[in-house]
Symmetry: C2
Subunit: 592 residues, 2 copies
């Protein structure tokens, strides 16, 4: 069975040594002294290791079951959920006005990585609740907030988001679910939604569905869409639960992975709903959830790679097979451990250098969100809107790839379910698909975010990279191993952006045919920047002799690997992009 160890040292390194959180001006960050974050991370890590991780494989095997309209989660989930609630983890970064602990999103993200690594399917129940919380918190009336948020923050009630219908996934303009206004100000919601994660289950007393539907008078396409709150049980004026609403689960899906999370077909049959936010502005309200969810999914991608890596490294140290090429390293054993073999190391270093880079990138993203929300920092807001599709798309593509590589270390033992490595790959696979398939992330990046506000945000991004290089290029060691590769990769990225500008005007297909390649290039540049930052800190720590040498040396070596072996991918992506759209678009539809 797989194990899980929380990466507390690495997170503390990022929070305090790289990001210097407690010295930051962001409101709420000053309290994040090292001992405070250590206490939180250790408690969260304990919960992840001792409560959530042991239920991961059994939850996968058992799955969810639907009988007489009731969905049962796997054995042990209800107890684990109660433990999470009792610890106040659901409301860690929620508003104290509604019972939350008021921690910054940054801490919610760090803790979230642990929970997702330990048990992704389990953590989705609260993850979706958090998304629904955010939407109601941002767009709800005072009454809606006081009715729903305290219960959601406490974890007594959970939440969902309902977008997809059988005939419409990405293209929400095709939506058919209808909302008819009623005399009492409520709406009558009818339609069918599919792929609703945690749509029905036995963990909470009530489920607050946020449902996109078309109300009369909004016009064609996505313009007519509004967002509604549709609780499973209606809520009485005193906060107690009233009658069952007209919403029910039709079936649950058989999936490749995340078996322990119920993926439901939800039927709305004249269900009572209340408008959330403005009429016909449902897409905007939904995007509050979507953007947060996308970063959460980007986190899931690398968090699955992280736990898969931990287990692959452990297996490579234990499993004896073959001999080191340079002669037996353990002559008293019948064979050397796998980890002596260069290709096993290549595989593990791919994983390690990606996971640590992605962790830094994601925490940086969380920091930008805090700056935007807590400090009204418009630049941070612009930057994170640019980076969100990269965090989602790049990190989930790579996260899946790395989980698959981790599985490969186990050979045949990775393919059978017994060791749990297959589950990491199967669970990670969904992250490339939901909350906007990665092709959509790339389209959002290239088709929308690059040019947003006159290209201001992407220029700001390049300035950050350039400034970092300029400030540090006096350091010869950093320059050769980190800054020069970063500069080359960043140049490739700029060249791709330039190509899009020049050729995309002539034919937008020239940009869109290279959109996924661009997203990956940008991901590599972001992780290259993270590694350069981390390397600088590690070098300084080594120079000042603060101790913990092994940690900093390992950090530097891992970063050098990323720069040498991952980062050169930008040149390949650039070559693909600049080959243009002609070969991509050459065939007629029936010639495929």
């Amino acid at each position: 069975m797989p194990t899980y160890t929380a990466p507390i040292r690495d997170m503390q390194f990022l929070l305090h040594e790289v990001m210097g959180v407690s010295g930051s001006a962001v409101p709420g960050y000053q309290e994040l002294e090292a001992d405070v974050t250590a206490a939180i991370l250790e408690e969260a890590g304990k919960l992840a290791t001792e409560v959530l991780a042991p239920l991961n494989a059994s939850g996968d095997r058992e799955g969810c079951t639907l009988e007489n309209g009731i969905v049962r989660t796997p054995s042990g989930f209800k107890d684990a959920y109660e433990t999470m609630k009792a610890g106040g983890w659901m409301g860690l970064d929620c508003d104290p006005e509604f019972g939350g602990q008021g921690m910054p999103y940054l801490m919610g993200t760090a803790v979230g990585e642990m929970f997702v690594s330990a048990n992704m399917a389990f953590n989705m129940y609260q993850g979706l609740t958090h998304g629904a919380y955010s939407a109601i918190h941002s767009h709800g009336t005072a009454e809606q907030k006081s009715t729903y948020l305290p219960k959601m923050v406490a974890g007594d009630w959970t939440g969902t988001m309902n977008l997809t219908e059988p005939h419409c996934g990405t293209d929400l303009g095709l939506m058919r679910t209808k909302a008819e206004p009623q005399a009492d100000g409520s709406y009558s919601i009818s339609g069918q939604k599919i792929f609703i994660s945690a749509g029905e289950h036995d963990l909470s007393d009530n489920i607050i569905h946020l449902v996109l539907a078309k109300a009369p008078g909004g016009g064609e396409g996505t313009k007519g869409i509004s967002l509604f709150i549709v609780p499973k049980f209606l809520v009485n004026a005193d906060g107690s639960l009233g009658r069952r609403n007209g919403v029910s689960v039709g079936s649950i899906e058989e999936k490749m992975g995340i078996h322990a999370n119920s993926t439901c077909v939800m039927n709305y049959d004249e269900a009572t709903g209340w408008l959330l936010g403005d009429l016909h502005k449902g897409m905007r309200a939904m995007f509050t959830m979507m953007n947060e969810a996308r970063i959460g999914v980007g986190l899931q991608g690398y968090a699955q790679a992280a736990v898969a890596y931990e287990n692959a490294a452990a297996y490579a140290r234990e499993r004896q097979q073959g001999r080191a090429i340079s002669g037996a390293e353990f002559p008293d054993s019948l064979a050397d451990p796998l980890i002596v073999h260069p290709d096993i190391r290549r595989n593990l270093m791919d994983q390690k250098s990606f996971v640590e880079g992605a962790r830094a990138f994601t925490l940086w993203g969380a920091n930008l969100i805090d700056r935007a929300h807590l400090d009204s920092d418009a630049e941070a807001e612009g930057l994170i809107s640019l980076l969100t599709p990269v965090i989602k798309g790049f990190q989930t593509d790579k996260g899946f790839e790395m989980a698959v590589q981790a599985q490969q270390v186990f050979g045949g033992h990775g393919y059978i379910e017994e060791h749990g490595m297959s589950q990491f790959a199967r669970d990670a696979r969904i992250t490339q698909i939901y909350e906007g398939a990665n092709g959509i992330q790339a389209l959002d990046l290239v088709g929308r975010k690059l040019a947003a506000d006159g290209g201001k945000h992407v220029m700001a991004f390049f300035d950050i990279v350039k400034s970092f290089i300029k400030e540090n290029e006096g350091d010869a060691k950093l320059k050769a191993d980190f800054l020069d590769p970063l500069k080359a990769a960043s140049k490739d990225l700029q060249a791709a952006g330039m190509y899009f500008m020049q050729q995309g005007v002539k034919n937008p297909n020239n940009a869109l045919a290279g959109s996924v390649d661009f997203m990956h290039m940008m991901g590599h540049v972001c992780l290259g920047l993270m590694w350069a930052r981390m390397a600088r800190v590690a070098q300084q720590a080594l120079a000042s002799g603060t101790g913990d040498e092994a940690f900093y040396k390992t950090k530097l070596a891992t970063g050098r690997y990323y720069m040498a072996r991952h980062l050169p991918a930008t040149a390949l992506h650039l070559a693909r992009i600049t080959s243009g759209a002609d070969t991509v678009m050459a065939l007629a539809a029936d010639e495929f």
Copy 2:
């Protein structure tokens, strides 16, 4: 449910227009006139589409069951197996002396692709039988051949290969299964084997296990290993089945995929076995099976991608979602089909250009095997020994990647099991692992095959590439689109080989740390060569106006895509390789 259409036109193009089989001097090829191969391919295609494909998803859902020592295959498998037997497909390329149809391996390979695309788990039962047939055919005594081969060729009996034990996968020197010589010339075999595909099932009357075991006096490591024939039921002198042998299934594995193929733990408890081939030369005899099996697995890789691609393309033509960037292509519909979107096309072209290139490469490989076996062509033998790890490793890595990309076209519908796209990815995943994990293929290529016979075979390979370029560079169109990119990629490959020679001498880790990258580079150069060959034929056909213009134009366009978008990967692989082993080997085992 997925559909399957046999690629008859493409196979006929390769067999006759590209390879000119019926004009070839290889014995047995002259009879392969276009109408003969068409008849075979059409019949095989019918069987694949109508009998095998419909059982693929149901077989995956149902899986195999073990009860009281009896393994049951999924519903319909037994009937389908009888249909295959009745058609004589099991012995298509087997020796007529034992009831086979005596077709070249080339035809077995073409037909095999269809069966594997339609139902990989099903086809493994006969695939392993074919491997065991080959080993007995090559190494068996006259009596062994007459006892076992007619029944195996007919499909009445099936075969298995037993290598792996719980503590030894790749490193067979650790083997513990023992063979004690008996007075009657037989051996008593005891030990446990795991991951035995088709180890026990209900399709055939008898199962002929080929088992590696250590007989006394052979010395340490792999030197002491011999190969034994251990039938499930002993065979009487008159060919009838005798008593049950001391071999039984202990359990069957829960796996990520190929659920319909039983993967067994086999217990040998003083089972009666007969030596196959020479005592203590079991590894050599086993490699007869392994090499064939590796090419078969390389075929599985792209065959899964092929059927996944077919279904992804069909879905992209049907599913309406969003609008073309340049304006609605189907203004009367609520949305355009997915296939209007450049990134969907990029995804599909990745798949199509890989699958068709891999098909050409694999049939070329089969042709080399025929030349080696039927025509005693030592050059062909050397070349296929070099290319076998590339066919296996590159094609299965890419095959899985492409099956995953095909799944991605379906969005959320690809993640649920209903559409069958998850199964293609899950089934394809095993191909990267079994018959030698792909890291082992790369080690075989770089550590053994490159330098074999003084590097003669790799030089011969480069000569083939160079000659093709030289012969055709007068053709300006071919030069720009195909020959120049091929030349650049081939140059990268040579540079990598040179790096290995120079740096590998100083430190073999420098070669091994780049072995997987080298395998992929070589795969790209091989597919680049295939595309250049196919493009030449397509251009000539268009110039001569033989008709079927759409086919040849599509072929050229698909090839141009491969050259423009896949082939530049060689530069990335070269950059990784020449970054050396230092960053790969930097960490101590406990620093991972």
